[in-house]
């Protein structure tokens, strides 16, 4: 009887020892620290700003459909994940700034403090960055760009058909984001010294992706 009891106890102990945990997500002793920033690559000058009060998502891998849990960044963009293991994790974050969606992902571990950068997410937007040149290939600043979506109006330069008009910046560029995924028609005009420089061009805008192109103004 006694030996049987000992055998039974031993077996139970062995089985208990062999049992493997199926999950244990918060059991780690490591911490991931980082600062999340938005990198504004569409501006004339690339600039970074802290990602404020936004969630940073912790994922086991980038391909995971779900994240584990998230933390909020503070006003300086700082964030911290605790109870993570020493394995590599993936951090994911998104934001929208001035209608431009930003997205960032990176592998992270507990070693040191990482800079987590978010870039404009061209997969979630479309756009057109148009640089206006003169016939000598010099950028033309302060030129007015008229956008049409109707070809008839565009062909007839019907003022009533202008969707919007913007002026080129000092580098001769205009930026359009989240345009309808159709053909977009642009007319550029620049008047100086009683002379008028005009250029016309049609762009096929797809649903995603930011297109960079140019428009040449020529003297009439």
């Amino acid at each position: 009887m006694k030996s049987k009891l000992i055998f039974l106890l031993s077996l139970t102990t062995l089985m208990a020892a062999c049992r493997k945990d199926t999950f244990d997500d918060l059991s780690g002793t490591e911490t991931i620290n980082g600062i999340a920033v938005l990198v504004k690559t569409f501006d004339a000058k690339i600039d970074t700003v802290p990602l404020r009060n936004r969630n940073i998502y912790l994922k086991k891998s980038l391909t995971d459909s779900s994240f584990i849990y998230s933390v909020l960044t503070d006003d300086n963009g700082k964030f911290q994940f605790t109870n993570v293991s020493s394995a590599a994790y993936t951090l994911v974050a998104v934001d929208t700034l001035t209608s431009i969606p930003y997205y960032g992902s990176m592998s992270a571990s507990s070693a040191g403090t990482s800079i987590f950068r978010l870039y404009p997410d061209e997969r979630a937007m479309n756009g057109l960055i148009l640089t206006v040149y003169d016939s000598l290939s010099s950028p033309v600043n302060n030129a007015t760009i008229y956008r049409f979506v109707n070809k008839i109006f565009f062909d007839s330069s019907f003022a009533g058909g202008v969707i919007d008009s913007v002026k080129t910046d000092n580098d001769g560029r205009v930026r359009y984001f989240n345009l309808p995924a159709t053909n977009q028609y642009f007319i550029g005009k620049m008047a100086f010294n009683n002379r008028l420089l005009i250029g016309r061009k049609t762009f096929a805008i797809s649903a995603t992706g930011v297109k960079k192109d140019s428009l040449v103004l020529r003297l009439q």
Partner: protein
């Protein structure tokens, strides 16, 4: 862990081994109360009483040791036999083998007495200095001083010249020893003087310490060191003084000088006693000389018969026997009576019987002694009694009785007075000598009567006699009793009767009435009739004679019977032994605190057969929670007092509670030295310098007496040699020879007369039957060691008992305590796990997880101690009496989160209520499955962090501490 395990094993091993060691030291064995003794060791004193402490618990006895003390007499009967044997040895030495040396010792003692008598006379002006004793002593003193060869005829009438020479040289050495006493006295005075000086310093020093104002610790230490050293010196001086005083007392006793007898009146009174003693010793000395001569005459022609004459040989009659220790296996030999023991003091066979009763679970050890000498004597008696010719003896007695009284009148002064008859009176004395020669035939071996006497004569009790035993057999008892009745005439009866009644009436005279007096007369008449045997005058005498006969012919003596219950592991008998020989003193001097599983009983050691023991028992409550526990609670009170501002007093009280006494280093107790009423301060050193050691030459003083004695001893040897070389003086040889012969002949005549008178007064037993073997009863033994069960009460209890014996002597009341044994106790304390045990807590109440990690090693734990051998709180010493009872299994949990941390392991009670713990720590660990910021699954399991250790206490003690801290 490994070290702990090793320690545990060692402790357990030591625990087992400890009891075995203790068993070798029986006085200490009861310290380990749960260890049974498998050995019984009994040490008997000279009377057969047990002198050692018996262990309180016995198991199956597998070893018995019995030790007899040297010079054991073992019983009054044995005492008689021992004395007899001693005298037989002296007898043998004096007359057969080595007469000179034995006799020299006797003469030396005589010289001491003589010289002391002379000294006393010198100090008493009114004492006569014309006595023969004084003259003899004065001459002896002169001989010692001058080393001359002038001998006193007085002394030479007692002994021979050569004997005198030998004895004188021997005596001189003792005189030198006597002179050493003066040097010892001087040493004693020196030490006393030093001791006084030390006392002054010591008192001064103590006084100084008492009056010191805030001394530095270093200075205080120096002062205390000085006190310790002085105390040590003081004590050593006391020891030396005692030693010297004992030596001096021994000298004074040996020389008969009473140092306190300084007045003339006292010394003159002592003269009479001293002269009486000298006279008495002269008689003894002469008696010995004559006995010597008698025996030599008896053996002159047939030395081979000497073996019949002295029934005990020298080798077997040595009185002082060495220690006898007998050891043998006890349990598996149900009967050990076949083992005889040869180292007995008085006889060759001590019979030790051990009966192990398997049914009664008891040991019955019986110690009996077979008096082998007495057996031999009885055997000899039985063989030779047939040769006794009573008719012949009767005729001799008649002839002796018919001698004229003038003989005694003329000759007794020769033997019993110091005055020497003039030689001119010799013709008259010579006539008596011729007459006395007629009785020589009875002591002449060549005659038939002489041969018979030689075989029949006995030397017993210091006398030469015909009846060795001084008793008569039952055969003659009736006859003697009748004679006794005839002697007790009616007149005598009446006188005795009236005397008794008158004596008793004296007490009734004050408040007496006629009726009560009449009633009293009647009662007393009955009493007197019984008391004086008036109805049957011979009855009392008959009983006395039969009792004597039985006493003197008892060969086997039943000395001691020891009956003890044995213990089994599940039935533990704990015996509190009480020694009847020491007023029922309990052999366990420690406080007897016993667990409830013990079965207590009272052991009576050295009980005697007529004892009637009564034990009164009273029960009261016993607080068995242990001293430490109660003192801790008391101490918290002391601490509270300390906190109120009485810091020194509180601290002292605290220390006192912990250590039992107030630390004496701070308050030396001057009462220890209050015997010395000297207040002078002799030491003024402020800086702590030590005073000079006052006694540096104690050893030299101690050895001085021995050195002087050794030197004198060397000188003495030369003196002795000179004395021995001196020739004996010439005197009136014819006169001295005649007187010497006459003295002896008359002594021989008196001896014969006395032997015959004694013989016919109490007829010699015809034949003495040796008793057959039988199973002795308790009352046959001189001493019994037995056990009486104690009553029980509701545990815990104190049993206050008092033993009363038949003489209504009440012993002091004593106590023993019985405490509860508990299987489960509560315990709480701080436990520390040695390795990390991190626990994760997730708070999902907010927008994001709030994760908390908890990894504190120390935790406040409450749990249960399970004591497999049942704990015994009343065993409150730091050194456990019951080690196994201190060990327990512990299971507990953290107080704040009971399910989060569990503890399982072993605990050891350092003192009851305070444990140290070691074991395995288990903690609850939550596992989370997290997805998209939500806990989608959660489970828990217990993990072990490894080992823990901790200290735990009884919750009541902890509560007491909490109360103190948060009050």
């Amino acid at each position: 862990m490994k070290q702990l395990c090793l320690l545990l094993v060692l402790l357990l091993a030591g625990h087992v081994g400890f009891g075995q060691v203790k068993a070798h030291f029986p006085g200490f064995a009861y310290d380990v109360g749960n260890i049974f003794s498998r050995r019984i060791y009994v040490k008997l004193d000279g009377d057969g009483r047990i002198t050692n402490a018996l262990p309180p618990q016995f198991r199956k006895i597998d070893h018995i040791s019995i030790q007899f003390s040297p010079n054991a007499r073992l019983a009054p009967e044995a005492d008689y036999t021992a004395s007899l044997n001693k005298r037989l040895a002296v007898f043998y030495n004096l007359f057969v083998d080595d007469a000179s040396s034995q006799k020299t010792k006797l003469i030396r003692s005589y010289f001491h007495l003589l010289l002391n008598a002379k000294r006393l006379i010198d100090q008493c002006p009114s004492a006569s200095k014309e006595s023969e004793i004084y003259k003899a002593a004065k001459l002896l003193e002169k001989n010692i001083q001058d080393n001359t060869s002038m001998f006193s005829p007085w002394i030479l009438s007692l002994i021979s010249c050569s004997e005198y020479t030998l004895a004188l040289s021997d005596f001189k050495s003792s005189e030198i020893e006597r002179r050493d006493a003066s040097s010892i006295t001087q040493s004693l005075k020196d030490v006393q003087k030093k001791r006084e000086a030390d006392s002054i310093s010591l008192l001064g020093l103590i006084d100084r310490i008492k009056n010191l104002d805030k001394p530095t610790p270093q200075f205080t230490k120096q002062l205390l060191d000085s006190v310790d050293r002085l105390k040590t010196d003081w004590q050593s001086q006391l020891n030396i003084m005692r030693e010297l005083q004992e030596k001096l007392d021994a000298y004074n006793i040996a020389t008969g000088i009473n140092p306190e007898c300084n007045s003339e009146l006292c010394r003159c009174s002592a003269v009479e006693a001293a002269l009486q003693e000298v006279s008495s010793f002269e008689q003894s000395l002469r008696d010995v000389s004559f006995k010597q001569k008698l025996v030599r005459n008896l053996y002159c022609c047939d030395s081979s018969l000497s073996k019949y004459y002295v029934p005990a040989y020298l080798s077997s009659t040595a009185y002082e026997a060495p220690d006898g220790l007998r050891q043998f296996s006890g349990r598996f030999m149900p009967m050990l009576s076949t083992t005889s023991f040869t180292a007995a003091p008085t006889s060759k066979k001590n019979r030790i019987r051990s009966i192990y009763d398997a049914d009664k679970e008891s040991l019955d050890l019986q110690i009996t002694i077979n008096n082998d000498n007495l057996t031999k004597i009885i055997d000899w008696h039985n063989q030779t009694i047939g040769l006794l010719n009573r008719d012949e003896l009767s005729k001799i007695k008649e002839a002796i009785t018919a001698e004229p009284d003038a003989m005694d009148k003329d000759l007794q002064p020769l033997l019993f007075k110091s005055a020497q008859p003039e030689c001119k009176d010799l013709p008259a004395l010579k006539k008596w000598l011729d007459k006395l020669h007629a009785y020589d035939c009875y002591f002449t071996p060549t005659s038939s009567i002489g041969t018979w006497l030689k075989r029949w004569i006995w030397y017993s009790g210091g006398d030469i006699k015909l009846n060795y035993f001084d008793v008569t057999s039952p055969t003659f008892v009736d006859e003697i009793a009748k004679k006794e009745a005839q002697d007790l005439t009616k007149e005598k009866q009446y006188k005795e009767y009236m005397r008794l009644i008158n004596w008793n009436l004296w007490f009734l005279r004050k408040n007496d009435s006629l009726f009560s007096r009449f009633d009293f007369y009647n009662k007393e008449r009955e009493n007197a009739t019984d008391k004086f045997g008036l109805n049957d005058p011979g009855k009392k005498k008959k009983a006395e004679l039969l009792k004597d006969y039985k006493q003197f012919t008892t060969v086997t003596q039943y000395i001691h019977r020891i009956q003890l219950p044995l213990s089994e592991p599940d039935s533990r008998n704990f015996i509190l032994f009480h020694d009847r020989n020491h007023f029922y003193r309990r052999t366990i001097t420690q406080k007897a605190i016993l667990p409830e599983s013990f079965k207590e009983s009272f052991g009576i050691v050295n009980g005697e057969k007529d004892d009637k023991i009564a034990i009164d028992q009273k029960f009261s409550f016993f607080n068995d929670s242990g001293t430490f526990r109660s003192q801790l609670i008391a101490t918290t009170g002391a601490l509270q007092n300390a906190a109120t501002g009485l810091v020194p007093a509180g601290l002292t009280s605290l220390l006192s509670n912990f250590f039992g006494t107030t630390p004496s280093a701070f308050q030396p107790n001057p009462k220890t030295f209050d015997q010395v009423n000297i207040q002078t301060v002799s030491w003024t050193g402020e800086s702590g310098s030590r005073p000079p050691v006052l006694i540096t030459d104690l050893d030299r003083l101690r050895n001085s007496a021995n050195e002087v004695a050794a030197l004198l001893s060397q000188a003495h040897k030369a003196e002795v040699q000179k004395t021995v070389d001196k020739r004996c003086p010439a005197g009136n040889a014819a006169c001295e020879a005649l007187l010497s012969e006459l003295r002896y002949e008359y002594w021989q005549f008196l001896l014969l007369r006395k032997m015959l008178n004694d013989y016919f007064k109490l007829p010699t037993p015809e034949k003495i039957d040796l008793p057959t073997e039988y199973q002795p009863k308790d009352e046959d033994f001189l001493y019994n060691t037995y056990v009486l069960p104690a009553e029980d009460s509701t545990v815990p209890y104190t049993n206050t008992y008092r033993i009363t014996d038949e003489s209504s002597k009440k012993t002091p009341s004593r106590k023993y305590f019985v405490g509860k044994e508990r299987i489960v106790t509560l315990s709480t304390g701080i436990f520390i796990n040695r390795h990390s045990a991190r626990q994760v807590y997730v708070d999902t109440a907010g927008q994001a997880f709030k994760i908390t990690n908890k990894d504190d090693a120390a935790k406040f734990v409450l749990g249960f101690q399970i004591h497999p051998t049942r704990t015994f709180s009343a065993d409150d010493g730091l050194l456990p009496r019951f080690l196994l009872k201190r060990l327990s299994l512990f299971g507990g949990f953290e107080v704040l989160n009971p399910l989060d941390n569990l503890y399982a392991g072993l605990a050891y009670d350092v003192v009851p209520g305070v444990s140290i713990n070691y074991g395995a720590h288990y903690y609850k660990y939550d596992i989370y499955k997290v997805a998209n910021g939500q806990i989608i699954d959660q489970s828990s399991k217990y993990k072990t962090s490894g080992s823990y250790f901790g200290v735990s206490m009884d919750p009541t003690m902890v509560l007491s501490l909490f109360k103190l801290l948060f009050k």
